[in-house]
Amino acid sequence: MKMLLVAACCVPFLAGQPADDTQLRQVIIFGRHAVRTPNAANAILNNFSALPYPNFAVPGLAVITPNGQKNETILGAYFRLWLTQERLLTGRDAADNASVYFRADGAPLIVDTAQAFAAGMLPSAAAAIHSTTSSDPLFHPVDAGVAQLDEPMAVAAVNGRLGGNPQALATAYAPEMALVRSVLFNYPPGTTPVPATPAGKIDLTAAPFTVTAGSSALPVNLGGLQNIAIALDPFIMEYTDGMAASDVGWGQLNAAAISQIDRLYDRVLDLEFRTPYLARVQNSNLASHIVRSMVQAATGSPVTGALGAPSDKAIVLTASNFNITGLAGLLGLEWLVPGYQADVAAPGGALVFELRQSQTTGEFIVRTVYITQTMDQLRNRTPLTLTSPPAVAPVFVPGCSTGNATFDCPLEAFVEVVTGAIDPRSIDLNQ
């Protein structure tokens, strides 16, 4: 009987909140690159699958696809609408361009994403994308020499989340492991006895899971789990790129199954980038620059270690899912968007930090949201407007957000929380 009352008691906790009197002063949009081709060549991937992986519309590894470009411009156009409504943009692109700072990780995929986003956000302006071909200390602080990663510590920090027994992940994720194998070897899930590995192919699900010293791309080497993630990675890209259903996981995966199978991929990101030691080393510099840029905008005075200028109204940072996962991990941010698993950094999806000011008290607050196109908005290249927006997940900032409907976080408390989370030895004070 008690359960039947559940529906009646579901008054959203939004009810009865005071009106929002804040005005947006600055926004920092920290997005993942758009839909891309796989990171590994089909010649390699095809060792792991019964059937060959499909070709995307463009050649090359880890490059933005034409549809990825279109989706990113659609997303940029949505931000244009939203930021114009919020009066941060005026609609006069050339003038607005002077108060927008774009920074992209140096890979062509990411610079191209930023350009496609800018083409939607400021269509009549020639936006300058700041990037470097060497390791950007903002996104690769270890490679850039700004932060030091103690490799034995990294291995210990990950092992010590897994009981020192990474192989146990194979049983903990048994349903997903079985699904991966059935998709790669093209048989219905649940087939018994389990079909043998096709001749000449490698069964990735049989390779041991380990935690050993990593590389500059991944701080620890997870053995077989890492290779599974590489084999899975193309599926969501096939779906969101709009490939024919028969080419998405060889016709075996719908959106829900891609989401489920990707738990193995998500777990790799969690271990590599949200593990507290790793999150601190790899994301303190980015967090430091974000918070300093907000303080710079709030005070109107140049701050060392901030991005852009005090008058910048929008800062657009484009990087990879590991950067977004890592920054979120550092600050304890989480989200859930229908269709995706929890905390997934989707193609084009962004953590958005709004610096807002109360019109009555002058107080500055930070409001955080995660914004992303849903899997089907990407697949269908759905135009986005203020009335048909992308998915917007308001994010509670632990230790800072108040209990109001938009989880507002006073700027001063935000600075304190971020300062407490970052490792001061892993940052620089450069632009």
């Binding site: 510590m153 920090a157 989340r161 897994l162 903990a172 050993t212 229908p338 997940a393 632990p398 209990g403």
Partner: protein, 427 residues
Amino acid sequence: MIACCVPVLAAQPADDTQLRQVIIVSRHGVRTPLQPNSALDVFSAAPYPELTDPVSYLTANGTRLETMLGTYYRLWLKREGLLTGQDSSDAAFVYFRALNLERTVATAQAFAAALLPSAAVNVDFQRTGSDPLFDPVGAGISPMDYQKAAAAVSGRIGNDPQAFASGWASELSLARATLFQYPASRIPLPATPAGKIDATALPMTATAGDPGNWPVVLGGLSATENAVSPFFMQYADGLPASAVAWGQLSLAGIGQTMRLTTLVLDLECRTPYLDRVQSSNLASHVVRSIAQAATGTATAGSLASPSTRVIVLVASDVNVAGLAGLFHLNWLVPGYPADFCAPGGALVFELRQSQRTGEFVVRASYVAQTPDQLRNRSAMTLDKPPATAPLFIPGCSTGDPTFDCPLADFVRVANGAMDPSSADLVH
């Protein structure tokens, strides 16, 4: 592949530490469901198996399993030199405290009887009201802002609790198939049997709870979890396979439904705001008791006395998950989902001292019987131990194979994690 997998243990200096004190924070043993079958049966096509013990009590096998666990700890602590084998003198250095429920007190009693079989060990528990250690909100030590609790959870899920339905679609459909007894992949989806409630179809929410219940009302997610959580207890209690989830689930299948339990606990106990409110007092007492043992000086807000060598705290999964969450501890034990709080499973904090330098370190682990050790009531020895997952304590553990954490750093990390206004300094 093989050559690169040098275990992290290689070429480490020998462990010169001696165990000085151990604090075991345990969940109760295998129990009957928390609700009577009359309440559960509305969610299932077939009735839940009849119970031989009252609702929410430690089962007879649960008692046996706790005895086995106590026996194992006796062997381990004797080898470590913390127990001498002379029970009546050892009893003076052992402190038991249990949450004041039948299942937790009975668990502690069964464990104690095996740890010190020749001694009469007192299990301390609160006779009336809420124990501030395990229910600080109920005890009035720690105020909970329920509106903020709902916000803190809502802000982890995009303010859209219904999104659980897609995020955990495979678990929810397996739960429904099991409860309504059809093969999991059946299409079209069979209708809800007449007179029954489809727990998975109830609206999922994240609204303010109230004292005495979950801090946040999760609606259908919580109702579904409630309906499937007896399955693992049936398995662990050794019921015949046909009575475990009506014979429909293997251990792997049960493990998949158990993800809903870890999800609910994660939301209710590990969400940072909720964690600080609910677990700071327990963390405070644990860390102060460790400091008290290291200094040998009575410390306010610690448990037992400076000479106490073994502290056993028996409570609920809520407490184990919450304490772990406050320190950001994660574990994985074969057969369980990540971070699952198994019946009888415990966070174990060892206070160890280097024989060479005198330095104190804290070494943490999660110790639990595996699902099959529970189901088979496997006797445990030092050669056949329960599963032990060493825990890395973020911000404190060093990179050595046992993840040792210097005591001073442990105190610093604990102080940073706790909310001082949610802790008392009472014994």
